[in-house]
Symmetry: C3
Subunit: 341 residues, 3 copies
């Protein structure tokens, strides 16, 4: 798609500096961008690149008044660039309609403008909302519901009894609704606890690739509005994740743990079961969280502790070899004194 710089500026609510009639047809990073492409600078320390960039235009923050290249000035250049990207490189919807090789079982309820890809299997009584896109080789279990304007990438597996809201994106290889991991030891054997609960995923959630979200034992595993989940994350049965929380790759959340709103769990963090992470808390990468965390708290380390304490302990540990040495020396001097007495 081609647009003039002026048109782009209008669409993203920015102000043009320089020639607004030049045509832009692509986006790229500041060092790769060439003729016909627009780029951005969001960090002041990259401003010097304005002198050398080959881009036809640059999106910058309002503090920048002028440059040798045409500019669009906006409040948040990265956000503006991101909007431009979506305009110039629109998401390529697959062909609308039901591929003849898709299997649509009895009683399936399809909205308007739904796409279902080749070889996908939609089980009985499943429901898919308007304009939702199901890529090839997807499985949607009996009676499960997906809202409108969702994108379900190839090879996603959604089992029976799963409820998914609107504008949800699920990436490939992700499994939603597998059995929770629950056994009862009885007379020396492990018996499986039936997992008859469901999974509820609310509006505007995005889930990465090869994620696992187990169904609840009873009740529901619950991913609330606006949650973003990265790849290879484990979400056990009956976990609740509050609105707009961010779960980075390879995090593991054990059964029945409750995550508040606006929480960030950094990569590879592990959370014990039956604990609560307060609103807006931040859990550091690889942290091992064994107890509940109050709201607005940063924890890190293994086991996880308040971040400032973790840093202080960290520093003491670094000085440990030196401490050992000092104590040995003090001991010698003390013995010296004791002898002289």
């Amino acid at each position: 798609m081609k647009k003039s710089l002026r048109e782009i500026a209008e669409l993203i609510g920015g102000e043009v500096v320089g020639n607004g009639s030049i045509e832009i047809e692509g986006v790229a990073g500041i060092e790769e961008a060439g003729k016909g492409e627009i780029t951005f600078i969001s960090d002041k320390k990259h401003l010097f690149l304005l002198e050398t960039t080959q881009a036809s235009a640059v999106i910058v923050s309002c503090e920048i008044k002028k440059a040798r290249v045409p500019l669009i000035r906006v409040e948040n250049p990265y956000f503006g660039f991101s909007q431009v990207t979506r305009i110039l490189v629109p998401y390529q919807k697959p062909t609308e309609g039901i591929h003849p090789s898709a299997i649509i079982s009895e009683g399936v309820d399809l909205g308007k403008g739904v796409s279902i890809g080749a070889r996908s299997v939609i089980e009985e009584k499943a429901k898919i909302g308007d304009n939702t896109i199901i890529y090839p080789l997807v499985y949607l279990g009996k009676g499960s519901r997906i809202g409108r304007d969702c994108i379900i990438y190839p090879q996603v597996m959604i089992r029976e009894g799963v409820e998914i809201g609107d504008r949800v994106i699920i990436h490939s290889g992700t499994v939603v609704g597998s059995d929770g991991f629950g056994y009862i030891p009885h007379e020396g054997k492990q018996y499986k606890v039936p997992q008859i609960g469901k999974v509820v995923i609310e509006n505007d959630v995005e889930i990465g690739a090869n994620v696992t979200i187990d169904r609840a034992t009873l009740g529901k595993t619950w991913i609330k509005k606006g949650v973003k989940i990265d790849n290879l994350v484990q979400i056990a049965h009956n976990v609740v994740i509050g609105e707009d929380s961010i779960i980075v790759a390879q995090v593991g959340i054990s059964g029945s743990t409750e995550i508040g709103k606006g929480v960030t769990l950094a990569g590879q963090a592990g959370l014990a079961g039956h604990i609560r992470i307060g609103d807006k808390a931040i859990v550091g990468a690889q942290a091992g969280v064994t107890k509940s965390v109050p709201p607005n708290t940063i924890v890190s380390g293994y086991p996880a502790r308040p971040h400032t304490q973790a840093k202080r302990i960290e520093a003491s540990i670094l000085r440990l070899p030196e401490l050992h040495k000092l104590v040995r020396e003090l001991k010698k001097r003390l013995e010296e004194l004791e002898k002289k007495r």
Copy 2:
């Protein structure tokens, strides 16, 4: 399904207190259960909820003699409840038979009552035992064997040369029999070591979603009877896991390591290759195990150490900043003494 409280009590070997003729048709947690539903209390500290629950009946331990609601008294209430769940909410078998879109190659040997779902691909000479259920979009490799009464969920991948016992459950996205990770450096390049061994999975094993189990280089990767494996676990080539062991989510077990019987590996633990974990040992969450662990031992930490030692060291670390301070103070006082001399 509906049953009277008396019928239920008989089926699970419990004793009714109160009106045994009331009808029960569902199960729920103590705080969610309503009319027509049965629930349970296994922890004494929740007994006060007997006063307020809306459930029609509660399964309790034999110590409880009477309550305002009808009871079933059993030895292990959670186990009893779990049995009731399976009775009232039976597993919904998919339609028996081979879906016309499944691909059954030459020489495949199918038992009685086998279900094979849409779009599944069963390669030559594979064998599937009586009453086993293969969901849609499953791949079963050449000559592989699955026993009877197994459940293989959608999108499971089982490569050639895999042997699976009876009553095995494998959840979606799991890969069994991928090549082990083995290379030989030779004249500055990495050469792939052919992985020609197999995978053997014994009876009553359950494997979670998106697990990876590599085939052996030579011989077999071996998951013994009754082992339970959670989601996103990595099991490398030639690993052996002893009977009834429990492997929690995101654990990684390196090549040729041997896990004893009744072992528990908690979430995100990592085990080095070529070590042995003794029977009934417990490895803590996120532990990094670099050496063999004797039987009946609890280890934790990074690197993993006997749990009591790890706890003692943990406590010393917490008091480190204070120790630094104390040593500084002692030093000053010592200098004081030295000067006075």
Copy 3:
């Protein structure tokens, strides 16, 4: 396949000691091998097994001159054995050609001798090179390219805009080209950053099972020549991995991080974003790497530090309880001295 010991020795460039005319038809480990099988010893401490092995022949290093069984002497016995394995147990190619149930969309460009398995879906304008094998239930996105002599196992998902070189192997459940994890906070909401970059995988790369490789935001996520990636690894958007590096299972690499040539990342290690790991560096298992690592350096621990420092700190920590005790004792003795004064 059957071969005489002499033929085998010639094929791997070794020297026979003993009867070269015996026939060999299989391979096995030293303790399992029986009649008709060849095995190997690469570690001197296993040489005593030459006395008891039931194998018909053993591959050994040149230092060994003679034994009670026929030998093949080579420089690197494990490498030699690995070559013999490939000769006696050749990779079983699936039937050549396009399975009638595969879906080949318009404008797909297929090389000579390509195999495409049942139910695979190849989208428009994708390109597959000569002799490449695509197993069943694979998804290959629009316009993506795979080189020659590749093996793509069942249920691999390759999205649009992915470029794969020659002799690449990708194991089941792996997802290549899913969206990078990027959001911009704007007026209290998270907005998705469009991920319009690609993934480039060069020649001779092998990728394990259930791996996730995200596409770049802009530009490319780039896996260079000869890289070997184990199972369940997370590779975020815009990561670059240098030639011949080894990435062990469950490692996570955050966005825009650059890994040099010949690097080893051991199991479950986690790397922060926007850092650089120098050529031939080694990152220990479970290490948490928060800063760039210079070339030829070994780091370990959490947070990762140079290995010798990590070891020294580790040792000081082990002696901590004893240090606490010693300091308490010194304090008492000091007080004694102070009193006497």
